[in-house]
């Protein structure tokens, strides 16, 4: 039986992802764990996350998960969600500026500074909270069966700008275009919460449970 490890670093509602995976996949064993050995043994790995990047990085380092994440993100099908996506990038403006894991190149910015950069008034409230549409910037096995411009549930105050080299696999607009999905090789990471996005979200998770990590 295949195993999917959901990395548990004690923040927020991490179990939602596990419950949603169990709902779409009865062939895999879903483990919520911070045991490096168990994460290394898993066939697929999910890095979920809500909350603040400082706490997130502090907990990942305290549990000595940063090295493990770098290791498994090299070859296993790897799904990052929300803060779990932002943590994969180089650095974040949050909490006065924080180095993140640096698995993928990219900076995480606050919406306020993003809007200021392009000289626009905020299009609405921050956090960007609720349902918005995602344009599929390029084909990907995890988009299979999901209509372009499907709605997904977001909640975040920091965002990832559009990235170079085709890393942006999904784009959403909130005053400005930002990266809703970053993907490279075996890594697919979403700013939105697939586990809270009803049909389209469950479809994406189901695709992940079948994905071999190639594109």
């Amino acid at each position: 039986m295949a195993t999917i490890a959901v990395i548990d670093y004690g923040m927020g509602n991490l179990r939602s992802v596990a419950k949603a995976l169990e709902h779409v996949d009865d062939r895999s064993r879903i483990v919520v764990t911070h045991d490096p050995a168990e994460i290394r043994r898993a066939d697929r790995v999910v890095l979920p996350g809500v909350g603040a990047i400082r706490e997130c990085m502090a907990e990942l380092r305290r549990l000595e998960l940063d090295a493990v994440i770098h290791e498994v993100a090299r070859n296993k099908p790897f799904l990052g969600v929300c803060l779990g996506m932002q943590a994969l990038l180089t650095a974040s403006e949050e909490n006065g500026g924080m180095d993140a894991l640096g698995v993928l190149p990219g900076q995480v910015r606050h919406f306020a500074s993003g809007f200021a950069d392009v000289g626009i008034a905020p299009p609405g409230k921050v956090p960007h909270m609720g349902w918005n549409q995602v344009r599929q910037a390029r084909p990907h096995p995890l988009w299979q069966g999901i209509a372009d411009h499907s709605w997904f549930y977001f909640v975040h105050s920091y965002f990832v700008p559009l990235l170079d080299d085709g890393l942006t696999a999904g784009v959403t607009h909130y005053g400005l275009d930002f990266t809703a999905v970053v993907a490279r090789e075996n890594i697919f990471a979403t700013q939105f919460h697939p586990e809270k996005s009803q049909g389209a979200g469950l479809e994406l998770l189901a695709n992940f449970t079948r994905w071999n990590g190639t594109v």
Partner: protein, 261 residues
């Protein structure tokens, strides 16, 4: 492509059962939170809110089981309010599968609780619920105060100032209920909604008074709300969530409609 305005059905839960009857067509058990949540999920609700009205704290543990059961089957954002007083209460609800918790009276007793909760669990999961009531006459510029105990106890706190302070302390969202309008079906208190929405940079959910679909539109367009909470118009089957969204879309409000996905 834009952020949709949200429609949030609210369910009152007492000792683990939904009360104030939900009267959907052909529902088997109108008190079962899981079945009702599933139905709202299928109907296209954007989130769901459970408000625990259980009087005795001994029975509160049943709500944890309700949240667990709902979260195992319904994959949409879930907010739980009522009786949230300590970080342990929040942790328990988040672990059970809630995405956000509503804090009301505990914030009034100790505003720092909101800061502590936001720092620990993230602003995104801290909803401060404000029950507001107008405290001056119609011939004066309106002023509202925060009330507790179902609108019976006046706190002396200005509601708009309070919303601003809660946002500053780290609240991620304001659930604003007009106690003047709650249960009247006369529509939201739009002046109150607009005053709070303009005062804060975080999303505001309008609540209290919805009696028809135009009220939902008014809450968003005139009140400036980011989301609208309603109970009876959906529970009693007067309107479906899909009808509400079609109506709002027809009035130019951006909503998430399933046929577009």
């Amino acid at each position: 492509m834009t952020l949709a305005k949200r429609i949030i059905p609210c369910l009152d839960v007492d000792e683990g059962r939904v009360v104030k009857g939900v009267k959907f067509l052909d529902i088997r058990d109108a008190g079962d939170p899981v079945e009702i949540a599933r139905r709202y999920d299928q109907a296209g609700a954007d989130e769901i809110t459970f408000l625990d009205i259980t009087a005795s704290s001994d029975e509160r543990e049943t709500l944890v089981q309700v949240v667990e059961a709902v979260a195992a089957e319904v994959f949409m954002p879930l907010t739980v309010g009522g009786g949230i007083r300590t970080p342990a209460d929040i942790r328990r609800m988040l672990n059970a599968g809630a995405d956000k918790v509503g804090i009301n009276t505990a914030a009034i007793h100790n505003p720092e609780f909101v800061r502590e909760a936001a720092e620990r669990f993230g602003s995104q999961c801290i909803v401060v619920a404000i029950d507001a009531k107008r405290v001056n006459g119609d011939d004066e510029p309106p002023r509202w105060e925060v009330f507790t105990h179902g609108g019976r106890r006046q706190t002396g706190i200005d509601a708009v100032e309070w919303a601003r302070r809660m946002a500053d302390l780290g609240a991620g969202e304001i659930l604003l209920t007009s106690m003047d309008r709650d249960g009247t079906r006369e529509g939201f208190d739009l002046a109150l909604t607009r005053a709070v929405s303009d005062a804060v940079t975080i999303p505001v959910i309008a609540s209290g008074g919805v009696g028809g679909l135009q009220h939902l539109v008014d809450g968003v367009v005139e009140g400036g709300a980011d989301a609208v909470l309603a109970a009876s118009i959906f529970h009693f089957g007067e309107y479906t969530v899909a009808e509400a969204k079609a109506f709002m879309a027809g009035q130019g409000v951006a909503v998430r409609r399933q046929e577009e996905t």
